[in-house]
Every structure is written in structure tokens, then in C-alpha cells.
């Protein structure tokens, strides 16, 4: 199967779609304000024209490419293209000020690519193992797993706990729109038959991630924030970059493993990993004073961990159907729309798709290295795009993207509604990530709750499910630790202050 996957991933179509995905991703990520989640949500409809495996490879290219692309504007302009690139902005832009822009762009590309390749190894070997374990899962285990994911999101986000819980519940309500799975009666449809099959996933996700971004860009355009002017940048020297990789090989491995490990956990997207990898490497470094002031090692640690996080977030997604980040949650929507069920059954129902995707993910990361090393400096031209044009075209593409899935203007109105909801929730301090996670996983939770309650004939039923009990124990530990941390005074400024070296 692995060999078949490799052969399929090396077909001209797969290479073309991987290249297109990486290029589009880098372009999206390099434009400040546009994120990987935005890119995936907007381009899901385009992948419907392809075979599922190629569509998923293209989306993985967009995901990884956008995460890497964010570092380009971070390094050149000190404006992180995506929230994940803020450590790259500190280290990379300091290198640019020292006249080392080509070396900074080269290290960023190579670090991101190698980090992604290491996470691809983990993706290839850990996912099937985890999926094997998940095959033993019944309804109670799935209920506990989904609840555990919600719990991790609720306690890990910086926003107030009640706001995070509201987000989860709002997402569950949105997921409940449609027909009742038990008796088939319409629920929250308000007389619209178009809602009987539920809210359109693509329309809702575009509404959540794309339109609010267009509004912010429109506001910036009206405020007069203009595009930047940049000097011409020289080409990176691959040999010099390779020398840095060899010198920092253990740093690269550690940062990639940190990124992959954190990516596996729900809610810990690429945004938080560079900070952890950077601070770990600073502590282990012989020259910690250089970190935060233009350290090539610091930039390498940051970018390797960011792209490794992408692969990590795909592991629970493919093995369990649980996304490891906001972008992965959108990715799950794409898999579902391609007619597949993310989770352990994917390995038995469509193994060729999974293994082609695994091999394709290696390809995607190799392309990041090649495109980054030789093309990043040309993408600097994107940083000159006027915000007014970007905002207008985002709205147009969002409308077209939500319309194209079912060729229905009703979905466009759903997208407008979702955008209003996202903007309103943001205004009252409710984060969007728990909403998306619960919206995606709500159906799975409800189905399994119903099955569990129908089968359970008392407490004994639950006591004979060790995996569910184990997950419940983990959930209790998380609640206790989170409560303890919130009750303890948070006064350790010396440790917290210089985490990023900035």
C-alpha cells in the first residue's frame, strides 16, 4: 500500500496539484491577513473537480504552504503573514536588517520543509497505529474522545473559559440544524427545506474565516494602510543554508518533534508551537544571548516547528476524525465533502487515498523547500497588493466558493449569516475555534450519544469500557490541572517575560 501510494503520488497529476497547492498556499500565507484556514476554506470547492487523493494533496499543499508563506512577510516586513509567524518576524527581520535577507528566506524555507518532512514520517507511521487502536472504539469511546477534544480547546485557549464553552455550545447548535437523526423531524430549520440536510459546511467555514478577514482588510484600506515597498532581494545560497541545517541538525530534529507533538493535541495550532520550540532551543543553546536578535538557529527552530505542527495536526484528524487545529477542522470538512469519513475506517474503506496522501505530504514539503529556496524572493511582489483590491476579491471569491458547492444562492446567504455570527461572537469575546470544532464534530457526538444511551443498561456498561474510562480519567486530570492553574497566582514574570526573546 505504501508503495502504491508513492507511485500514485509521483504521477504527473499529483505533482501538479501538490505544486499548485503549495504555490497558492505560499501566496495566501505571504499576504498579511490571509491565513491557512482561509485558504483551505476558500479552495475546497476547487478540489471537487479532482480525485479525492489529489484534492487532499492540494489542500495539504495549501495548508503547509500558507503556514510557511506567513514567514515570508514576517521576515521581509516584520509583519507576520499568519499568526504562527510572529517568532519568525522577530528573528528573520533582525537578520534582514543585518543584510542577510537571502539567508533568512533560505533558512526559513529549508527549516519549514525539513520540519514538515519529519512530521510526514510521524504522520505515516503514527497514524495507522493510532487508527488500529481507534478500531476498538465504540460509541462511548467516541463520545469521550470528542468531549476530551472540546475540553482541551476550552482550557487551552487564552479567552475566558465561559466564552470558550459558549463557543462549543453554539457550534453544537449549528451542527444540529437539519433533521433529527432519531425521528427525522426538522430541527432549527425555520421552514426552509434547504436546511434539512444541515448547514453547508463550506458556506459556514467561508463565512467564519474569509468574510471577516475581508472586512478587516477593507477597514485597513479605508484607514489608509497601504501596501509596502520592498527592495529587490538576492537569491538564497543553498550550500550556505545546507551548512546551517547540518550545524543545527539536533535543533532541527527537536523543534520538529516539538511541533509534531503539539500539533497532535487539539486546539494547539501552529500559532503556539514556535514560541515553545524557540524558548527550548534558547535554553539549550551555547549562545542564548543571540536569540531574539537575529539568530539563524532561532529562525530555524521556529519555522521547523511551525510546519511540523501541520503534519502533527493531521495525525488525529486521519486516525480518529479529531482535528488538531482550526485549519485541520476545516480540512475535516473537506474530507467529508469528498465523500469520505475521517477516522479509522478510512484506512479500511479507502486505504489507497490515505497512503497516496501520506506520500503526497512528503512531496508537498519537498516543494516547500524548492519553491522557498528559489522563489520566495519573487513572492515579495505580493506584499505590494493594495488592500482594497484584496478585500474586494476575497468577498467575490467567498461568494463564488460558497455558491459553487451546491450551485445554490441559499448557501451564499448562509455564508453571510455565518460571517455575521463570527463577527458578533468575536465582539463579545467568544473565540471561533471552539465553534468550528463543535460544528464539525457535533454530528459525530450526537450520533454516538444516542447509540450509547440506547445500549447502556446501567453503570456496568461504562465500567466495562477501559478506553472510555481512560479518556474520562484524562479529562478529569485536565480539569483539575486547569482549575489549579487558574486558582494559583500567575506571578512569574522572569520566566514568562522573555519567552520569545523579544
Amino acid at each position: 500500500l505504501v508503495l502504491e501510494g508513492v507511485i500514485a503520488a509521483l504521477s504527473p497529476s499529483a505533482i501538479m496539484f501538490a505544486a499548485a497547492g503549495v504555490l497558492l498556499g505560499i501566496i495566501i500565507g505571504a499576504i498579511p491577513g490571509l491565513t491557512a484556514t482561509f485558504g483551505i476554506a476558500l479552495l475546497i470547492p476547487v478540489t471537487f473537480l479532482m480525485a479525492p487523493e489529489y484534492g487532499l494533496i492540494m489542500l495539504a499543499g495549501i495548508y503547509a504552504g500558507a503556514i510557511y508563506g506567513g514567514s515570508i512577510s514576517a521576515i521581509l516586513l516584520n509583519i507576520p503573514g499568519t499568526p504562527a509567524s510572529f517568532v519568525s518576524a522577530v528573528e528573520g527581520h533582525a537578520l534582514v536588517r543585518q543584510g542577510k535577507a537571502p539567508q533568512a528566506l533560505g533558512i526559513s524555507a529549508a527549516g519549514a520543509g525539513v520540519g514538515g518532512l519529519i512530521s510526514a514520517v510521524a504522520l505515516m507511521f503514527m497514524t495507522p497505529t493510532l487508527a488500529q487502536l481507534a478500531l476498538r472504539f465504540g460509541a462511548p469511546e467516541y463520545v469521550m474522545l470528542v468531549l476530551l477534544s472540546f475540553l482541551i480547546v476550552v482550557v487551552m485557549l487564552d479567552t475566558p473559559v465561559f466564552a470558550n464553552i459558549v463557543g462549543v455550545f453554539v457550534g453544537l447548535v449549528l451542527a444540529a440544524v437539519g433533521l433529527d437523526p432519531q425521528d427525522g423531524t426538522p430541527r432549527f430549520t425555520f421552514g426552509y427545506f434547504q436546511l434539512y440536510s444541515g448547514l453547508g459546511v463550506v458556506a459556514v467555514l467561508i463565512g467564519f474565516f474569509c468574510l471577516p478577514q475581508a472586512v478587516v482588510l477593507a477597514m485597513e484600506a479605508l484607514e489608509g494602510r497601504r501596501e509596502s515597498s520592498l527592495e529587490r532581494i538576492a537569491a538564497s545560497r543553498p550550500l550556505q543554508v545546507f551548512r546551517r541545517l547540518v550545524m543545527d541538525r539536533w535543533l532541527l530534529l527537536r523543534s520538529s518533534l516539538i511541533g509534531t507533538g503539539l500539533g497532535i493535541l487539539p486546539a494547539i495550532g501552529p500559532e503556539s508551537t514556535p514560541l515553545v520550540a524557540h524558548s527550548v532551543e534558547r535554553r539549550l543553546s551555547r549562545r542564548p544571548e543571540e536569540f531574539g536578535k537575529g539568530s539563524e538557529s532561532g529562525l530555524l527552530a521556529s519555522d521547523a516547528s511551525i510546519c511540523a505542527n501541520v503534519g502533527g495536526s493531521l495525525i488525529p484528524l486521519l486516525a480518529l476524525g479529531i482535528p488538531g487545529s482550526g485549519a485541520a477542522a476545516v480540512f475535516i470538512g473537506a474530507i467529508t465533502l469528498h465523500g469520505m469519513r475521517p477516522g479509522p475506517l478510512l484506512f479500511t474503506e479507502q486505504p489507497h487515498v490515505v497512503y497516496t496522501f501520506f506520500a503526497g505530504f512528503f512531496l508537498v514539503n519537498l516543494m516547500i523547500i524548492v519553491m522557498g529556496l528559489f522563489g520566495a524572493r519573487y513572492l515579495a511582489v505580493l506584499l505590494r497588493l493594495p488592500k482594497a483590491a484584496v478585500a474586494s476579491f476575497i468577498v467575490l471569491f467567498s461568494i463564488f466558493g460558497s455558491y459553487a458547492v451546491n450551485t445554490s444562492l441559499f448557501d451564499v446567504w448562509i455564508m453571510f449569516g455565518a460571517a455575521l455570527l463570527a463577527i458578533g461572537l468575536k465582539r463579545i469575546g467568544v473565540p471561533i475555534l471552539p465553534v468550528v470544532l463543535a460544528f464539525i464534530l457535533g454530528g459525530l457526538l450526537e450520533t454516538n450519544v444516542v447509540i450509547t444511551l440506547a445500549r447502556a443498561d446501567g453503570l456496568d456498561y461504562f465500567l466495562t469500557r477501559p478506553i472510555a474510562l481512560g479518556l474520562a480519567a484524562v479529562a478529569i486530570v485536565i480539569v483539575v490541572v486547569a482549575t489549579w492553574r487558574r486558582l494559583m497566582p500567575l506571578s512569574k514574570p522572569a520566566e514568562n517575560g522573555g519567552a520569545a526573546g523579544s
Binding site: 453544537l172 432549527f188 474586494s392 444562492l409 473565540p431
Partner: protein
């Protein structure tokens, strides 16, 4: 505004909870539980919105450097939003090409001043290329008007 939105959210969730109160069955019980949970927590958020001095809540609703607009610019932003709503409304009647061109020209005019003739012509070319791409390559059936039908006939005659 924040409190108004919190009240609106609580009100909507309250209405949904009431609408589910009379239903029966395991799935209905699950949904009622979700609605009650959502209502309770939204009430907590509403109460939290009154704690204006609480730094945690202030940080949560902080826009992180998002621009604030004066009255005139807010009106232009509102007009930008209305433009796209009108676009969706006229799309089935006017067709894709004309409505998309009008929508883009109006949106750009609102955000960055009146576009010049070259810009407007450039947008027209973009819309034509986009239409050919989605109708002849992506095969997405978009709403058609007179211009769209003429262009499509031209494409097929060229084939």
C-alpha cells in the same frame, strides 16, 4: 454594542431552548441539554460583559490593533457590505458578468476612490476570464443574463 450582542445571543439561545422543551426522545434530550448549556454559558458571558474592568474579558474582546473608523469611513464600509448583498440579489436577474463587474467596480470605488477607465476595463477583462474559467473549465453553472449567454455562444462557436 457588546452588551447588545450578548443579549441578542442569549435571547436567540433562549428561544431555541424553549422550542426544544416540548420534544421527546434521546436525541431531543441531548439537544435540550445542549441548548440549556448554551443558554447558561451565554448568560455568564452576558454577566461578564458588565465586568468592564476585568482584564481577562477586556483582553478577550480586544481587537489586537484592528483599525477603528470614523463616521464617514464606517458609512463607506457599510456601503461596501451592502454592495455585495445587492450583488447577490441582482445576480440571478442581471447575470454573472454584468453584476460581478458592477460589484467589483462599486466595491473598489468605495474602498479606494473612483476607479479610472483603465482599472474598469481591467476589471471587465478579469470578469470575462473568470467567467470563461468557471463555465468552460470548472463547469459551475452560474446565473446567466444576456451578456453571459452571448459570451457562452461565442465560446462554443469557437470550439
Amino acid at each position: 454594542m457588546r452588551r447588545l450582542l450578548s443579549v441578542a445571543l442569549t435571547g436567540v439561545l433562549g428561544a431555541l431552548t424553549v422550542s426544544r422543551a416540548s420534544t421527546v426522545g434521546v436525541s431531543a434530550d441531548y439537544m435540550l441539554l445542549v441548548c440549556i448549556g448554551a443558554l447558561t454559558c451565554s448568560l455568564a458571558v452576558l454577566i461578564g460583559s458588565f465586568r468592564a474592568r476585568d482584564p481577562e474579558w477586556r483582553a478577550a474582546v480586544d481587537d489586537g490593533g484592528a483599525p477603528t473608523l470614523d463616521r464617514a469611513r464606517t458609512l463607506r464600509l457599510s456601503a461596501f457590505a451592502v454592495t455585495w448583498i445587492l450583488y447577490v440579489l441582482i445576480l440571478p436577474n442581471v447575470g454573472f458578468i454584468v453584476s460581478t463587474w458592477l460589484g467589483l467596480v462599486a466595491a473598489l470605488a468605495l474602498l479606494s476612490g473612483r476607479p479610472g477607465l483603465r482599472q474598469a476595463a481591467g476589471l471587465a477583462v478579469f470578469v470575462l476570464v473568470f467567467f470563461v474559467l468557471i463555465s468552460a473549465v470548472l463547469f459551475v453553472p452560474v446565473p446567466r443574463g444576456f451578456v453571459d449567454n452571448e459570451i457562452e455562444e461565442l465560446i462554443y462557436s469557437l470550439r
